[in-house]
């Protein structure tokens, strides 16, 4: 009979229902069968049989009652499934009978799965989860390329004119928005102001992103006109923080850096603008969540400059169906054509990077490395468990043989053994997920604050699905080999043989050795990479920085307030007066030795990057060396303890004629090769001034922008130009914690309406600047340690097991006069083979692995003998430690007892 789909569905439902009401159904069936026999007996009696004969005949006609019942039950439920559930229950009972094994296995797995799940939740959020914008895969970050400096800077930010032209001409782009990141000074009801992250963008930004405001409207073209631009759109978080989530927010006025602006729209929750770097290698500045969006009005300068002025960032949307490559090729062609037609002095190109990749570019390498590392730890854990399971399968061999002899099918045997692994995997996996909730919090506290989308990290549904999949995969990984083992058992041999002898077949030993070897290989790779990372990190911290951060406190002051507005004619004098007062008042604080001023927060990357132009030696723009310009006071060198190499320091007497500069050794090398720079002139460097500047001194190179690099620096006195962002550096005998309240009091005593975005010790600033490297080092070191521990446990487990199987053999050897040392050698030699094999394989693997991770490390060599040798030594020492206990046990075998055994 053909059964239709509906029949199948009805049958399936009825089967499921049957499982739930099994007991009642059983009773029903018994009643029905009894009725059958009774009815048959009654009819037979009626035909004239004796009651006994009638019943016997009835039973015979029925056939086997037990068989009928069995096939009835098989028809009723899901026999295979129910059988498997029985297997699981049995496995569970078996595990409870060996709690030490079960606990070890579950704990190992829980830790490993917990670690992998925690790391995965970070990877998932930071690298994999798409942004909440419309078709986020079509969004790209567009930067320009200057062919002449490509080797130094792979791309540069965008020029406004170039953007306008590209947006108009490029067919591959649907739209593109240009923007600048900004900090707005906001003071709520007369409080000290604080800085809120913001964006000044072309009005089409929300169209490019595909975001609809929740309240009010987005920007329109008319907003980007002088005089009309006093409108803002708030992010959801901005609306909550600045307007306390006022439902009538649209139309309200807020004060931004002293200007009154009207709120015209609020973005929905979940929409957050990512942090996008100006260009690779250029600092992003302080990381602040973007809460305020303001329209950008192009300045005359923007509309005029066709070279340089790379002051913007652009986010573009690719047209549907246009690939990244096609768009890049098209824009590149447009840039080249423009270079020629406009007779530009530099050759332009383009760089398009998918938004997700660009935002994660700083951390993705480190995260993938860590994820790979934690996965190999899980792999090593699985190998350990596989070895344990293999041993259990061997000792359960007789049981399996009996089952096979009684007619259990191959699939039944494999499933029965796999059941145990599944139970371990699920309990371990569940415990692992529970651990991961804590693990995620731990990782989030360790992850450097500049990791994008940090606060979004959570154990989400995809993460849970991943953990479940991981549990199943690991159950298969460590349970399948042992389960297959039960297939190879020949019932007869297994039942006759001595179990310890079957366990110690050459094949069994080879499998165990191979498993241990693979573990060792993984561990070696992990150890070598870990030690490279640690060495590179310690080198980063310990190398000479060229400045001394200890006992220095850093305070950054932000002068974006109406009293320092560039609309005021007196702004220069006002800023200068403020800086002077802060410097002299800070000097009055007790125990302060010196107070310095600089224009950039140290260790936040390259900022105020400019060409070094010499009037006496003009060069085409592409050949001019790049320098970082800093505005300092004369005490800067002394406070940071940067040595003066040649010439003289700034002095108070320069105040009247402030157009003097100090340059770093690197700037001297690159800008004045083979010449004495003292007394030479630099032009076009002071904003809004045509005067040239005289070099008066050369100072040592420092790693003041970041510990990984020195930069060519030009230092000028703040008397020539006082920036709106001032960083004060206070050297004091007192610790920063004690000093900080005083510093704050001094600054707000002079002007309560300035913001202090950064106030901490310089040591902390140094430490924060290498947060990613530290995170990578800490996490990898802990995984490397775990891997080593697991490998040691694995070696120990396998050897101990092997020794226990060979007790009789050792007994005989001792009885025949073998010495204890000789016996220990036998065991240690057995241990050596997989260790040597694994180390060899691991070394070969690590050659590849190190090449892959090298770009993540600071000044790491390809082959570091110290790392390799140290890792090998550590592993050998640990392995020998693990082997020595079983070896001693082997030597301590009592021959009489061993021979009498079994």
């Amino acid at each position: 009979m053909s059964s239709s789909f509906m029949d199948t569905v009805r049958a399936l439902i009825s089967r499921c229902v049957a499982i739930l009401s099994r007991r009642r159904q059983d009773a029903d069936l018994e009643d029905e069968l009894r009725a059958h026999i009774d009815l048959a007996t009654a009819e037979n009696i009626q035909r004239g049989m004796t009651p006994d004969a009638a019943r016997t005949t009835a039973l015979r006609a029925f056939g086997g009652v037990a068989q009928a019942r069995d096939s009835y039950r098989a028809q009723r439920g899901f026999p295979t499934l129910q059988q498997f559930i029985r297997d699981l229950r049995f496995a569970f009972r078996q595990l409870r009978r060996s709690p030490a094994f079960a606990l070890t296995a579950i704990l190992t797995l829980a830790l490993a799965i917990g670690a992998v799940t925690s790391i995965f939740s970070v990877v998932n959020t930071v690298l994999l989860r798409p942004f909440a914008f419309r078709d986020p895969h079509r969004l790209v970050v567009m930067r320009e390329v200057e062919e002449e400096i490509r080797s130094e800077r792979s791309s540069v930010p965008d020029n406004y004119r170039h953007y306008v032209r590209l947006k108009r001409d490029a067919r591959g782009l649907e739209d593109a928005a240009i923007f600048q990141q900004a900090g707005f000074s906001v003071s709520a009801s007369g409080d000290h102001p604080h800085i809120v992250g913001g964006l000044v963008s072309s009005p089409n930004l929300f169209n490019v992103l595909g975001v609809q405001p929740m309240l009010g409207r987005g920007f329109v073209e008319g907003d980007a006109k002088k005089g009309e631009d006093n409108v803002v759109v708030l992010s959801y978080a901005g609306w909550r923080t600045l307007l306390a989530g006022d439902p009538k927010a649209v139309g309200r006025t807020i004060q931004l850096s002293g200007d009154a602006v009207t709120v015209v729209g609020v973005l929905p929750p979940g929409i957050q603008f990512p942090q996008i770097a100006m260009a690779p290698g250029i600092a992003m500045g302080p990381q602040r969540e973007v809460m305020i969006f303001a329209p950008h009005v192009p300045s005359d300068w923007d509309l005029k400059m066709d070279t340089g002025a790379y002051n913007y960032q652009v986010i573009a949307r690719l047209r549907q169906g246009v690939s990244l490559k096609q768009a890049t090729a098209e824009l590149d062609t447009l840039q080249r054509a423009y270079t020629i037609s406009a007779h530009l002095p530099t050759h332009l190109g383009i760089s398009l990077v998918p938004l997700g990749n660009d935002v994660a570019s700083g951390i993705s390498g480190a995260l993938w490395l860590i994820f790979t590392a934690v996965c190999s730890v899980l792999l090593i854990a699985c190998v350990n468990l596989a070895n344990l399971q293999l041993a259990r399968a061997v000792s359960a061999e007789r049981e399996t043989a009996v089952c096979a002899a009684l007619g259990a099918s191959a699939s039944r045997l494999v499933l029965a053994r796999l059941a145990e692994s599944l139970v371990i995997a699920f309990v371990g996996g569940a415990a692992g997920v529970a651990l991961a909730f804590g693990g995620v919090r731990l990782i989030v506290s360790l992850v450097p604050a500049n990791v994008p989308r940090l606060h979004e990290i959570e154990i989400s549904l995809p993460v849970l699905l991943f953990a479940t999949g991981l549990s199943i995969v690991s159950a298969l990984a460590f349970g399948f080999l042992p389960a297959l083992h039960s297939l190879r058992i020949h019932p007869q041999t297994a039942l006759q043989a001595n179990p310890s002898r079957t366990g110690n077949t050459r094949e069994g030993r080879r499998t165990r050795s191979l498993l241990v070897a693979s573990q060792i290989a993984c561990t070696i790779v992990l150890l070598i990479i870990t030690s490279l990372v640690l060495r590179s990190f310690s080198h980063l911290l310990r190398q000479d920085r060229g400045f001394n951060s200890s006992h220095v406190t850093l305070a950054q002051v932000d002068l974006f307030a109406p009293q320092y507005s560039d609309k005021l004619a007196t702004v220069k004098a006002v800023k200068l007066a403020f800086a002077d007062r802060v410097l002299s008042d800070l000097q009055q604080l007790p125990s302060v030795q010196s107070v310095a001023l600089t224009s950039a927060v140290p260790l936040t990357g390259e900022t105020w990057v400019d060409d070094l132009t010499r009037p006496d030696h003009p060069l085409p723009p592409a050949e001019r060396p790049m320098i970082n310009l800093r505005w300092i006071n004369p005490e800067y060198l002394g406070t940071m303890q940067i040595p003066l190499v040649a010439g003289r320091n700034l002095s108070a007497s320069d105040r009247a004629h402030p157009n003097v500069a100090l340059i770093s050794e690197r700037a001297a090398r690159e800008g004045f090769p083979g010449e004495n720079p003292i007394g030479k002139q630099i032009s076009n460097i002071v904003p809004d001034s045509k005067e040239t500047v005289t070099v008066i001194g050369v100072v040592a190179d420092t790693r003041i922008n970041g510990l990984k690099n020195t930069a060519a620096m030009v230092y000028m006195p703040y008397w020539a130009y006082t920036p709106w962002m001032l960083s004060f550096l206070v050297r004091s005998a007192e610790p920063s914690d004690a000093l900080i309240p005083g510093v704050r009091r001094v600054i707000w005593g002079i002007d309560p309406q300035v913001a202090i975005p950064t106030l901490k010790s310089m040591d902390e600033q140094v430490s924060d600047s290498v947060a990613t490297d530290r995170f990578q080092a800490i996490v990898l070191a802990s995984f490397g340690g775990s891997a080593l521990l697991l490998a040691v446990l694995g070696i120990y487990g396998v050897l101990a097991y092997s020794v226990s199987l060979r007790r009789q053999e050792f007994g005989i050897r001792i009885a025949l006069g073998s010495g204890k040392l000789a016996l220990m050698r036998v065991v240690l030699l057995e241990a050596m083979r997989p260790i040597l094999l694994g180390s060899g394989a691991g070394l070969a693997l690590s050659i590849v692995a190190v090449r892959l991770v090298r770009s993540l490390l600071y000044q790491a060599p390809v082959a570091d003998p110290f790392s390799i040798g140290g890792s090998l030594l550590l592993l050998f020492a640990a392995a020998m430690l693990a082997a020595i206990i079983p070896a001693r046990n082997a030597a301590a075998v009592d021959p009489m007892r061993a021979l009498r055994m079994d």
Partner: protein, 112 residues
Amino acid sequence: MGENKSDVLQGTLDLMVLKTLESMGPLHGYGIARRIEQVSGDALNMNQGTIYPALLRLEQRGWVKSEWGTSGTNRRAKFYSLSRIGRKKIEEETENWERIAATMARFLAQTN
């Protein structure tokens, strides 16, 4: 199972049960088994017990319904009857079976 108690083809038994219920009305398991034995004569010597998995299968598909009732001899027993779907299926299955039987007959005639 005995040698001459040939295993009844699953589909065959199902159709026999349906036909029996169609001609006899509601019937308990023993009654169905007896009726099938009687109709088939000695040609089909099946274990009466095999009727129960078949009945369950038909009930699961929704082709027959069951209900506890009292037999002619006043014994409580489970009575089976055709459902609406079952009635429709009989036609379908009969046609199906006749086609198979005819095909088989043609094959057998050919080999002779």
